[in-house]
Amino acid sequence: MTTSDCILETRGLEKRFGGVVAIASVDFNLKQRELRCLIGPNGAGKSTFFKMLTAQLKPTTGQILFDGVDITRAQPHQVSRLGIGIKNQVPDVFNNLTVAENVSVAAKSRDGKARAVAKGKDVMERLGLTALAGRLVGELAHGQRQWVELAMVVALEPKLILLDEPAAGMTADETNKTAELIREVNKSAAIVVVEHDMQFIKQIAQTVTVFHQGRVLIEDTMDKVQGNELVREVYLGKSEDD
């Protein structure tokens, strides 16, 4: 793969917390406008991986290249400005600000006032948040707060979007809408989605990467991954010694 069609690459990425290895030498490649799903049991290192990609955690060793730029030692705001947007696992929003203010703070990070206001309105419209514009985000239901965070990420117009469990706590209807939104945004941005909801994964999946104990177990199409013996073992919790 040449650098031009590769948006994200990690080389030997590793994160240790004391003696615990959360991520062990992960080599990960993502193409421009690719949609990738990341699955794996709890504690497989998916969220740790995301946090390193967005500089919320510093890797112990290894290298992260985004769009040809080494961001291994960058600050979170620099990574964001380069074009990575993330929705964290727990809704990560401004609880005491209104929905409109949340989206506006995000939009103003990239654009002048006039464009930011227009974009904020447009994004809220697209995500069906207009009716909630004046509400304090802290008063909203969990699913709605997820949407506010999604709106903030979309308003950044990133080149790469990382979504950590975007459908968690959503109704079936909301989950379908999320899948639709992901496909739409994917037209202009690469997306990596971490999810446990297999129905949701099936809706959107192209290539699936399976993490297990901090390593990449397998990387293939959804069908192949589902049929894989190792993956079944990992998810059923069968030990390798048996």
Binding site: H77, S80, N88, F94, L97, E101, A106, K108, E139
Partner: protein, 343 residues
């Protein structure tokens, strides 16, 4: 919180009320009380500076009096040397501003947070107390100004009309100048908080990580807020040195540092009016308590503080604001209800 201020109606009303009070009070209040009142106004500027840093920036600074004291000393030392007060007045803003910028740079860029930030800033002001107290020898002279250790600097020359040292500010003049300064800073901060910069500062207080993931360098915004707060506190210090025509290391003491925090707690964080109201109320009560012999003043003030923390934890102004909103708006019914159709 920004949402509650949409439109400038509140700001215009507050400004008008401030101007009326500024013009009317000297006509109706006796001269002795005017002296007290002037010191309240000056301290309210100090309270406002902490209200910005803590209430909006989310930075708990226990040593706001450090900048106040540095401003006072910078003015006193400079004006004794220069005679004319124009440059000393500017120095009383610039020197504490630079000090805040330097201190803040090391603390914010090292990502020192919350409690540690409070401890370090408190320590800094106490170190300044010790250092300034140790300057009593005749060798501690800057130009013609003897620093004087714990005895402080007496006979600090008053402010004068720019460029005319003979046209000194009268005591009434100091009241008007302090009042106008308070009003101007209040209006300035309100406008600043409505700007993009202000929105980002509040967003960082709400969720620093999210703000950074949106592309804002939280360290820079906090440093800028802290520096502005330090400069404002320094200006209050200059006015305070004018008020007493005297300055001593007591401005760096624990009592002074604690007072400012109490004013902001009682008045309410997250508003600009709160710290001003809290400052006036507590100082007025302290003055009244000092005039009687039945109860120990500090005991009563301590009880008031504990009562506030337990019963009105948000402070006076936000609590009144909430009560008004409850009267004005009926509880909001979530739109989810509308979606629940009968099958």
């Amino acid at each position: 919180m920004i949402a509650h201020w949409q439109g400038n109606g509140g700001l215009v009303a507050a400004t008008a009320l401030g101007l009326v009070l500024l013009l009317a009070l000297p006509q109706v209040v006796d001269p002795v009380m005017m002296i007290e009142l002037t010191s309240y106004v000056i301290m309210a500027i100090l309270a406002l500076s902490l209200g910005l840093i803590w209430g909006y920036g989310g930075i708990l600074c226990f040593g706001q009096s450090a900048f106040f004291g540095i401003g006072a000393y910078a003015y006193a030392i400079a004006v004794i040397n220069f005679g004319d007060s124009t440059i000393p007045l500017l120095l009383s803003i610039i020197v504490p501003g630079l000090f805040a910028a330097l201190l803040g740079y090391f603390l914010f860029y090292a990502r020192i947070t919350d409690v540690y930030f409070g401890v370090i800033t408190l320590t800094v002001t106490l170190i300044l107390y010790k250092v300034m107290g140790a300057t009593s020898g005749s060798q501690y002279v800057i130009g013609t100004a003897a620093i004087g250790g714990y005895n402080g600097i007496p006979a600090v020359p008053p402010l004068n009309f720019p460029g005319r040292p003979d046209a000194a500010l009268s005591f009434d003049g100091l009241f008007y100048l302090s009042g106008l300064t308070l009003l101007a800073i209040y209006v300035g901060l309100r406008l600043m908080l409505k700007s993009r910069f202000g929105q980002v500062v509040v967003a960082i207080r709400e969720n620093e990580r999210r703000a950074e993931l949106l592309g804002y360098d939280a360290r820079f915004y906090k440093l800028a807020t802290f520096t502005i707060g330090g400069a404002i506190a320094g200006l209050a210090g200059c006015l305070f040195a004018n008020w007493g025509m005297f300055i001593s290391p007591d401005v760096f003491g624990l009592a002074q540092s604690a007072q400012v925090i109490i004013w902001v707690i009682v008045g309410g964080t997250g508003t600009l009016l709160g710290p001003i109201v809290g400052c006036f109320a507590i100082q007025w009560i302290a003055t009244k308590l000092g005039a009687q012999q039945v109860l120990n003043a500090n005991l009563v003030l301590g009880t008031i503080l504990i009562g506030f923390v337990l019963l009105v934890p948000k402070g006076v102004v936000p609590t009144i604001g909430d009560a008004f909103r409850r009267l004005k708006f009926r509880p909001y019914v979530a739109p989810l209800v509308e979606q629940r159709r009968v099958p």
